[in-house]
C-alpha cells in the first residue's frame, strides 16, 4: 500500500518539477519565468519529500523530522530566491512594466 502511494507521489513530484522547469523554457518574459521554479518546482520537491517521509516511515519503520525540516527550509528559501531575482531584474531594467494588464503576458 505504502509502495503505491509513494510511487504515485514520486511520479507526481517529478512531473511537477518538470512542469516548473518547462515554464522556464516557454514563458516569454523573465518576470513570468521566475514563477515556474519558485512555485511549481518547489511544490514538486515538497511532494517528493512527502514521498520520502512516508516511505521511510512505513518501510523503515522510523519517523524522522528531517523531511519536515527540509520542507520548512524550502518554504522559506523559495520566495527569497524569487524576490531577489526580480529585484535584480528591476534594478537593471527599471522601465519594464510590472503592473501588467490581463492578457499582456501571453502576447
Amino acid at each position: 500500500m505504502a509502495e503505491v502511494v509513494v510511487s504515485v507521489l514520486l511520479v507526481l513530484g517529478a512531473a511537477l518539477a518538470l512542469v516548473g522547469s518547462w515554464g522556464v523554457v516557454v514563458l516569454p518574459r523573465f518576470l513570468s519565468r521566475i514563477h515556474g521554479p519558485s512555485v511549481v518546482t518547489t511544490g514538486g520537491l515538497g511532494t517528493l519529500l512527502l514521498a520520502s517521509l512516508i516511505w521511510f516511515w512505513f518501510d523503515g519503520g522510523r519517523l524522522t523530522g528531517r523531511e519536515l525540516l527540509v520542507s520548512f527550509v524550502l518554504a522559506v528559501t523559495a520566495p527569497i530566491t524569487g524576490h531577489a531575482l526580480s529585484r535584480a531584474w528591476l534594478a537593471r531594467h527599471p522601465k519594464d512594466p510590472v503592473d501588467l494588464g490581463p492578457g499582456r503576458d501571453d502576447s
Binding site: V73, V76, I80
Partner: protein, 924 residues
C-alpha cells in the same frame, strides 16, 4: 655545562629579548647574563686549553649522510676568539644599554645581537667545516639585521643590503670551497682535514679551493677590493659598529685564515695571494682613512687597513708571523672597540660625528678625551701601549719574510708607509676632535657622558695600557696557545716584550711616528685635490653599477621572454607536464589491455552534462558571470556523480567547495576587469591548441591507466580496520583524521599559511571602510532571513561535525558549511563585500586552529605515544545519537576552525579591495 653550550646559550637567548620587552623587562639583562655566563664557562677551561694547550672536542651527528655533524672543538685559537666575542660582547651590551634610548625597539636589537654572538661563537668553536659555514651565514644574516636596526634610514638599509650581498656571496664561495675540501679529503672534520693537509696541497684543484676559501675570508674581513661594504655598514648604531666591525665579525675572516693556516698555507700561491691582498688593503685603507670626515668612517677605513695588516701577516711564511697576527687581532679589537665607543660618546653628547664641525672637545669632556687619545695612540703604535707591540712584531716579520717579486724592500717599505699614514690619521682624529677652539653650532652642548656609558671604554683603555706594559704576563700564554693551535705545531721560542733592543723595527717605528706627524702637518699641500675625487667611494659605485646592471638585464630578459604574463609561465609549466607525462605514461600504455568501458547510462549522462557545461565555461570565458554559472553546473554534475556512486562525503565536499568557489569568483571578478582581447597570432594559437590537447590527452591517458590497471587496492584495508583501529564508521573521515592524520595536519598548516599570506598581501590594500554611498541598505527581506539562515547553517555545521566520524560529515565539511553561511551574511548585509570590521583578526583564528589540531598530537606524545595517536570515549547523546568523543574530535575541531577562518579571511578581504579603474584596453 661545558664549552659546547656556548653557541646555543646565545642562540636560544636570542629568542628572549622580544618577549621580555613586552613584559617591560630590560632585554639588555638577558644579553648581559648570556655573555657573563659564557665568559664563566670559557674561563673554567683555561687550565686545560691555555696552560696545557689541549684541544677539547665533542661531536653530535646532525645530517650524517652529508657529513654534517655538530662537532665543536675548543683550542687556543678558539679560546682567543671566544674571549674576544664574549668579553667585548659584554662591554658592548653594557654600552648599548646606556647608548640606545629606552623607547627604541631594544628587543629587536638584543635579539639579533645575541644571535650574532652565538653564530660567532659557533664559528670559533666549529670542528666541522660545514657547521662553520652554517654559522658563517648566520653572522651575515644577523649582522644585516643589526646594521639595518634604524630601519627608517635609507643609508642603514642600503648599507645593510650591501654588507649582506658581499658577505653572503663570499659565504657561498666559502661553502663551495669547503665542499670541495670535503670531496678531496673525504671528511669535513677539521682534525681529519689537517691530517691530510699534504694531500690537499698537492691536489690539482688546490688553487681553485684556495681561491674560493679566500674569497669567503676576504669578503668577510673587508679586504680590497671588497672593502667598500665596511664603511657603509657604519650606518649601524655605534654599539653594533664597535662589536661587529672592530672586534668580531670582520675578524671572522681573519680567523678563517688562521683556521685554514695548517692545511692551506705554506704554498707559493697562498703567500702571494694573501700577502699582496693584505698589503693593498693595508695601504688603501690607511690612505682613505686620512680623508674621512666622519669619525666612524675614519675608524672604519682604519679597521680595513688593520685587517689588511693581519691578513698580510698570515700570508708571510715566517714562523712567528701567525703569532704576530693573532696578537694584533687581540690588540686591534681592544683599542678599536674603545675608539668606536668613544666616537659613539662624542656623537651622543654633541649630536655630530663630522670632524669638520667638531673641535676643542678636550675641555668639556676631559676624561673621554683622555681615553680616546690613549686608544688612538695605541692605534698609532706609541710605545707602552698594546698597539706598539704588535706593530713591532709586524715590522720584524716583514723584514724576515721572503722577497716578494724578488725584491726584499717591498714589504718593509710598504709596512712603514702604511704606519706613517696610520699615525697621520690617528693624529688627525685626536687633533681635530679634541683640540683647537671650542666647537660652535653643535646641536647639543658637549659634556661628559653618563657614568656607565664610559665604563666600557675605561676598561678597554686600561687593558690597552696593561697589555702594553706587561704583555708576557697578561697575554703571553694565551697568544702562545692560540698560535700553537693555529699552526698546529711547535713555535720557536719568542717572548712578547716591550724592549727588544735598538734594532731595525724600532727605527721603522720612529720613522713612522715622525713621518706621520709631518704628513698630517703638510697634508693640505701633499694631497691637494685628492679629497674631492674621493668623495664617493669607488667600491660603492662599482657595486651599485653591478646591481643596476643585473636588475636591468633581468628586466630585459623578462620583457624579451614575456615573463610578466601568466600565459608564458602556464605554457612552460604545461609543456613540461606534457613532456613528463609522455615520458612516464606512453611506455605504460603498452602494458594495458583494453577493458570493459560500457558503464552506466546515468554516469554517461552526468558526464555529458559536465562536458557540456565545461564547453560553456570555455566559450563564454569573456563573460565572467555566465562562465561562473556554467562552472557551477560542472560542479553540480560532479556532485551528483559522487552521490550516484554512493560517496556522500565527497558529494558534500564537492557541493560546498563549489559554493565557496562561486563566492570567491564573485569577489574576485571585479578586480580582473574584462579579459583583454585575444591578440595571439595564428601559429601561437595553434601551439596553444596543441598544448591544450596534449595536457588533456595526458590526463585522459593517466585516468584510463589508473582505472584499467589492476592494482592491489588499499581501500579494503581501510574498510576493515576503520572500526577496530579508528573507532569510526565513516572510513573517509577516519582516514582523514586518524590514519592519515599527519597528512591532514600538514595540509591544514599549509592552508593556514596560504591564508596568512593572502591577508598579508591584501590587507594593507584593503579599504578600512567602504564609502557610505557604496553601501546600500540591506533590503528588508534579506534582513529578516539572514539570521535564520545563518543559525540553520551553523546548526547544520555542528550536526555534521559531531557525527562526522560515523556518518557523512567531519571538520572540513562542517567548516565549509559554517563558512558559507557566514559569508552569506557578509554579502547580504553588504553586497560590495565590504564588512565594516577588519578581518585581520582571522590570523589569530588561523593560528588557533593549527594549534588546536596539534594539541591532541602533542598530548599523545606527553603520554609516551606517537604524535597524533588518538584516544577514545563513546557518549550517547539525545537527538544526535551516540557521539564518539575522542582526541580526534579536537583535531577535527582544529580543521574546522582553520577552514572557517580561511574562508572568512580571504573572501571579505577580496571584497574590501578598492577597484581600479578599467584601463583603456579593457574599456573597449
Amino acid at each position: 655545562m661545558n664549552f659546547t653550550w656556548l653557541p646555543w646559550l646565545a642562540l636560544f637567548g636570542a629568542l628572549l629579548p622580544g618577549p621580555l620587552r613586552r613584559l617591560r623587562i630590560d632585554p639588555a639583562l638577558v644579553a648581559g647574563a648570556v655573555a657573563t655566563l659564557g665568559l664563566g664557562l670559557l674561563i673554567r677551561t683555561t687550565p686545560e686549553v691555555v696552560v696545557l694547550g689541549q684541544t677539547l672536542k665533542s661531536s653530535v651527528p646532525w645530517v650524517p649522510s652529508l657529513g654534517l655533524a655538530i662537532s665543536l672543538r675548543l683550542d687556543g685559537l678558539g679560546f682567543l676568539m671566544c674571549g674576544l666575542i664574549l668579553g667585548i660582547g659584554l662591554l658592548v651590551v653594557l654600552y648599548a644599554r646606556y647608548y640606545l634610548k629606552p623607547e627604541e625597539a631594544t628587543g629587536r636589537f638584543y635579539g639579533p645581537l645575541l644571535a650574532f654572538m652565538g653564530a660567532m661563537l659557533g664559528i670559533a668553536l666549529s670542528e666541522n667545516l660545514l657547521l662553520l659555514v652554517v654559522f658563517w651565514e648566520l653572522t651575515s644574516i644577523s649582522s644585516f639585521l643589526l646594521i639595518s636596526f634604524w630601519q627608517f634610514s635609507t643609508d642603514a638599509r642600503r648599507g645593510a643590503r650591501m654588507a649582506l650581498t658581499v658577505t653572503g656571496l663570499g659565504g657561498l664561495a666559502l661553502l663551495a670551497g669547503v665542499i670541495w675540501i670535503g670531496q678531496i679529503v673525504g671528511s669535513y672534520e677539521l682534525t681529519q682535514v689537517i691530517e691530510h693537509a699534504d694531500v690537499l696541497k698537492a691536489h690539482p684543484h688546490y688553487p681553485a679551493v684556495l681561491c674560493l676559501v679566500l674569497l669567503g675570508a676576504f669578503t668577510k674581513s673587508a679586504q680590497f677590493p671588497f672593502h667598500f661594504w665596511l664603511p657603509h655598514a657604519m650606518a649601524a648604531p655605534t654599539p653594533v659598529s664597535a662589536y661587529l666591525h672592530s672586534a668580531t665579525m670582520v675578524k671572522a675572516g681573519v680567523f678563517l685564515l688562521a683556521r685554514c693556516y695548517p692545511f692551506l698555507a705554506g704554498t707559493e700561491l697562498w703567500f702571494y695571494l694573501v700577502t699582496i691582498t693584505g698589503m693593498l688593503t693595508l695601504l688603501i685603507g690607511s690612505f682613505l682613512a686620512l680623508f674621512q670626515n666622519d669619525l666612524k668612517g675614519l675608524l672604519a677605513y682604519s679597521t680595513v687597513s688593520h685587517l689588511g695588516l693581519i691578513t698580510l701577516l698570515f700570508g708571510l711564511d715566517t714562523d712567528l708571523a701567525p703569532k704576530a697576527a693573532l696578537l694584533h687581532l687581540l690588540n686591534h679589537a681592544v683599542f678599536k672597540a674603545s675608539l668606536f665607543m668613544a666616537a659613539g660618546i662624542i656623537d651622543h653628547e654633541t649630536g655630530t660625528r663630522d670632524l669638520r664641525r667638531l673641535s676643542g672637545l678636550f675641555k668639556p669632556m676631559p676624561v673621554t678625551a683622555t681615553l680616546a687619545i690613549v686608544a688612538a695612540a695605541s692605534m698609532a703604535g706609541i710605545p707602552l701601549l698594546n698597539g706598539f707591540l704588535s706593530k713591532e712584531m709586524f715590522f720584524t716579520e716583514t723584514l724576515d719574510a721572503d722577497d716578494i717579486f724578488g725584491r726584499s724592500w717591498i714589504l718593509p717599505v710598504g709596512a712603514t708607509l702604511a704606519s706613517v699614514l696610520s699615525v697621520a690619521y690617528s693624529v688627525r682624529f685626536v687633533r681635530q676632535a679634541f683640540f683647537g677652539p671650542p666647537a660652535t653650532g653643535l646641536e647639543k652642548t658637549p659634556h661628559e657622558p653618563p657614568r656607565w656609558l664610559r665604563v666600557p671604554v675605561e676598561l678597554l683603555v686600561l687593558l690597552c695600557i696593561a697589555i702594553g706594559v706587561a704583555p708576557a704576563l697578561l697575554v703571553g700564554d694565551l697568544i702562545h696557545a692560540a698560535a700553537s693551535a693555529c699552526v698546529q705545531g711547535e713555535l720557536p721560542p719568542y717572548t712578547i716584550a716591550l724592549w727588544h733592543g735598538f734594532n731595525t723595527p724600532l727605527v721603522m717605528s720612529i720613522v713612522a711616528l715622525i713621518g706621520g706627524i709631518l704628513v698630517y702637518a703638510r697634508r693640505e699641500r701633499l694631497f691637494r685635490g685628492v679629497e674631492a675625487r674621493l668623495s664617493v667611494s669607488q667600491g660603492r659605485r662599482a657595486f651599485e653599477g653591478i646591481v643596476a646592471a643585473l636588475v636591468g638585464s633581468s628586466q630585459r630578459l623578462e620583457r624579451a621572454l614575456r615573463l610578466d604574463q601568466v600565459t608564458t609561465h602556464l605554457r612552460g609549466l604545461l609543456a613540461c607536464a606534457v613532456l613528463v607525462s609522455a615520458w612516464l605514461l606512453l611506455p605504460a600504455l603498452a602494458r594495458v589491455s583494453p577493458t570493459n568501458t560500457s558503464g552506466d547510462l546515468v554516469l554517461w549522462v552526468l558526464c555529458g552534462v559536465a562536458l557540456f557545461a565545461l564547453a560553456g565555461v570555455l566559450l563564454k570565458s569573456e563573460r565572467p558571470l555566465t562562465a561562473i554559472v556554467y562552472s557551477s553546473i560542472v560542479g553540480l554534475a560532479v556532485t551528483l556523480t559522487f552521490a550516484y556512486l554512493s560517496a556522500p562525503d565527497l558529494a558534500l565536499t564537492q557541493l560546498l567547495v563549489e559554493l565557496v568557489a562561486i563566492l570567491l569568483l564573485l569577489a574576485a571578478v571585479p578586480h580582473f576587469g574584462l579579459p583583454p582581447r585575444d591578440k595571439r597570432s595564428s601559429p601561437v594559437r595553434a601551439l596553444d591548441g596543441a598544448l591544450a590537447l596534449g595536457v588533456g590527452g595526458a590526463v585522459t591517458i593517466g585516468c584510463w591507466l589508473m582505472l584499467s590497471t589492476d592494482v592491489a587496492s588499499i581501500s579494503r584495508y581501510f574498510l576493515e580496520k576503520s572500526v577496530p583501529l579508528g573507532q569510526g564508521n565513516n572510513v573517509v573521515n577516519v582516514i582523514l583524521v586518524d590514519f592519515r592524520g599527519f597528512d591532514t595536519f600538514g595540509e591544514v598548516t599549509v592552508l593556514a599559511i596560504a591564508s596568512l599570506g593572502i591577508l598579508a598581501l591584501f590587507d594593507h590594500l584593503a579599504q578600512r571602510q567602504a564609502p557610505s554611498d557604496l553601501r546600500p541598505r540591506t533590503p528588508l527581506f534579506l534582513q529578516s532571513v539572514t539570521k535564520l539562515l545563518l543559525n540553520l547553517a551553523l546548526l547544520t555545521a555542528v550536526f555534521l561535525f559531531l557525527r562526522g566520524h560515523n556518518a557523512p560529515g567531519g571538520g572540513f565539511i562542517a567548516g565549509l558549511t559554517a563558512a558559507v553561511g557566514l559569508v552569506f551574511v557578509y554579502q547580504a548585509r553588504n553586497p560590495t563585500g565590504a564588512p565594516a570590521r577588519r578581518p585581520a583578526s582571522m590570523s589569530r583564528w588561523l593560528a588557533a586552529g593549527v594549534l588546536l589540531a596539534a594539541l591532541p598530537g602533542v598530548a599523545a606524545m606527553l603520554f609516551g605515544r606517537a604524535f597524533l595517536t588518538a584516544g577514545h570515549v563513546h557518549l550517547p547523546l539525545p537527538l544526535v545519537g551516540e557521539v564518539h568523543l575522542s582526541t580526534v574530535l579536537v583535531f577535527d575541531l582544529g580543521v574546522f576552525v582553520v577552514v572557517v577562518a580561511t574562508v572568512l579571511a580571504i573572501l571579505p578581504t577580496l571584497g574590501r579591495l578598492p577597484l581600479g579603474k578599467p584601463t583603456a584596453e579593457e574599456e573597449r
